[in-house]
């Protein structure tokens, strides 16, 4: 099964996914110490199976917020899509900010 998230060329850090797609996003970090602590998808708590969160993309604009914790203030976080075939595709790469542990994603289901 191939990865389903793609960058939206018409938005800034916005992603496209087929409607009804089951997406698994996983968090990793350069220190190896970061944990995915929570996720909220479209204003509802999403089930987290650290370091991954699964959700199904409905049609339209969807809003995912995740929170990550790391004891390393210099950590770098990578968010990857688990493609289901043993491979992972990085979709986001950012410096961990202890003062703002939340990261948001806009995913357009179409």
């Amino acid at each position: 099964m191939a990865c389903q998230l793609k960058r939206d060329p018409n938005g800034i850090h916005r992603f496209l996914a087929p409607s009804g797609a089951a997406i698994t996003l996983c968090v990793s970090s350069s220190s190896g110490l970061a944990h995915l602590t929570a996720a909220n998808f479209n204003n509802n708590p999403a089930t987290v199976n650290d370091p991954c969160v699964k959700f199904t993309v409905p049609n339209g604009i969807n809003f995912l917020v995740i929170t990550v914790v790391s004891p390393d203030n210099q950590d770098t976080i990578t968010v990857s899509e688990d493609c289901g075939d043993g491979t992972k595709t990085p979709i986001d790469h950012y410096a961990y900010k202890p003062s703002d542990p939340a990261r948001g994603f806009v995913i357009v289901g179409q």
Partner: protein
């Protein structure tokens, strides 16, 4: 020459750093983004601007701070309120504070000194003695140099720590980790009679001696410096500990994350999700303007213009916008307070401190003690293990020339656990301690002029120091219960000790000790 190069580099770095700070105070939460865009290569600049434009990516906290920049007093008021609430929880949960005097003092109830420092000021009234031959009553005042200096200058003793500083530590460097204590004996008699052991003490020792006692006199002072020991997060040891620590506290981390993410989703959904097309249009409108801004002033103008547009868009689309911003800020403060407190527990698990202790023990020559201490939590956050190593020497050269400079060497350890309750609210603590002191020199006493020279009927005529007890080991075991009077900051330590001898009297001794301590730091923010 090297000095000038160093100063030039420092100056250059300072200028560079100063240039990268936003001149517009409201934009300062975005200093990092401003610096990144200004210093990005032409190829990386569009990506850096995209990162700034994406509020939902990771700029929630900064955006709310920018929004509150128009009314900083309101933001500070809320932030201070939340910080005080958290600070009180932290103070109530601390097990590393030493309010009473050290074991060598006449009125001490503690065989072991803890490594931590009071946040502001604490006092203790204690009755008893650990190593001393006679019981005493002592008032001990312990303080944090930074907090007391702030208080005396009219500033808040615990400084407000803005979110951006939370991970760097707040307060005056060095001074915030420096503590002091002053002890005063409150006995009303000028002498006390102590019985001696005719079989164990040197020949000619009288069956009782009159020891000089304190009479509302200064009996000692201490200067303590706390060295923290942040862990190397890349070490295998830390990684193993972090795994265990996270598993233990996983639910707390999850709860904190869930609370924060749900508030962010609720507050920002109306503009990020429901009005995404309009929000994207604002981003796209400002992207070329930001790309065209080549110097800091122009860039700041464009960044502020974009944020103002998003703010106006938020006000128009987010119901009860002002209160929602407050709830986001409050959620961040609570998240950072809770999570950082937990992270601090693992990052600064072991505390090392060192102190110089000037003592004027009752009826004995003045001494100086150097002590190193450590407190850590080998069995989880409910218990604290404290270890002390110390050495004492005589201050007076006339005494040291006769009996030697070193008086004694000490080693002690204590395990203390909360009894019932949670981290901050619990009724009592129980501790067991073992104390070992080796008397390198004989125990000396200062006899007042009314005593006779040992083995004679000759009145001394003036005060003198004589050897009473021989050199050798002192073993002490202590069991202590410390009753905590809710969140008042007051505690009552009650302990019992059993020793093979005291520093002056060579006979087995069992004694009880009681005290009343009051920590002003635990009152902070309790309302």
């Amino acid at each position: 020459m090297r000095k000038y190069i160093f100063v030039s580099l420092l100056l250059g770095f300072s200028l560079l750093h100063a240039q990268s700070q936003a001149n517009n105070p409201a934009l300062r939460p975005f200093n990092d983004e401003l610096r990144t865009i200004l210093t990005a290569s032409p190829n990386n600049r569009p990506g850096a601007i995209d990162d700034f434009l994406c509020i939902e990516c990771s700029h929630y906290n900064q955006f709310v701070q920018y929004a509150n920049g128009a009314d900083p007093h309101r933001a500070d008021g809320l932030a201070k309120q939340v910080q005080q609430k958290l600070a009180n929880q932290v103070e109530q949960s601390r097990l590393d504070l030493q309010s009473g005097s050290s074991p060598g003092s006449s009125g001490s109830s503690s065989a072991v000194v803890k490594a931590g420092l009071s946040s502001i000021l604490s006092t203790a009234i204690e009755s008893g003695a650990i190593t001393q031959a006679i019981n005493g009553n002592t008032i001990n005042v312990t303080g944090n140099v930074d907090a007391v200096a702030r208080f005396l200058s009219g500033a808040p003793p615990i400084p407000f720590c803005p979110t951006s500083q939370v991970n760097k530590g707040c307060g005056t460097p060095v001074l915030k980790d420096l503590g002091f204590s002053v002890s005063v004996d409150t006995d009303q008699n000028s002498t006390k009679t102590a019985s001696t052991s005719t079989t164990d003490n040197p020949a000619g020792t009288p069956s009782s001696v009159n020891l000089l006692a304190g009479k509302n006199r200064f009996s000692g002072a201490t200067l303590k410096y706390v060295f923290r020991n942040p862990r190397d997060v890349h070490s295998k040891e830390f990684q193993s500990q972090w795994t265990g620590f996270y598993e233990t506290n996983e639910q707390k981390f999850k709860d904190a994350g869930a609370q924060l993410s749900s508030i962010l989703a609720k507050v920002f959904s109306p503009i990020i999700r429901d009005q995404n097309a309009a929000y994207t249009a604002i981003q796209m409108k400002h992207k070329p303007l930001l790309l065209a801004a080549t110097n800091q002033a122009a860039l700041e103008t464009e960044m502020a213009s974009y944020l103002d547009d998003v703010l106006a868009f938020g006000k128009a689309n987010i119901p009860d916008f002002e209160n929602q911003l407050r709830s986001v800020l409050s959620a961040y403060m609570l998240y950072l307070g809770n999570v950082n407190q937990m992270l601090q527990t693992i990052n600064e698990k072991t505390v090392f401190s060192a102190e110089y202790d000037f003592q004027r023990p009752q009826g004995q020559p003045d001494t100086s003690a150097f002590r190193i201490m450590s407190s850590f939590n080998p069995f989880g956050p409910d218990g604290t293990f404290s270890v002390n190593l110390a050495g004492t020497f005589y201050n007076s050269s006339s005494v040291s020339s006769q009996f030697g400079r070193w008086r004694d060497a000490q080693a002690s350890l204590q395990l203390e656990r909360r009894i019932g309750g949670d981290m901050a609210n619990y009724p009592a603590r129980f501790s067991l301690a073992a104390y070992f002191q080796y008397m390198v020199s004989p125990g000396l006493i200062s006899l007042d002029s009314s005593n006779f020279a040992p083995g004679t009927n000759i009145n001394l005529g003036q005060s003198a120091a004589i050897a009473l007890a021989p050199a050798g080991p002192i073993w002490i075991g202590e069991a202590k219960v410390t009753l905590k009077l809710k969140s008042s900051g007051a505690e009552i330590p009650i302990s019992i000790t059993q020793s093979n001898r005291t520093d002056l009297i060579k006979s087995t001794t069992t004694r009880g000790h009681i005290g009343l301590t009051f920590d002003f730091g635990k009152l902070f923010g309790s309302n």
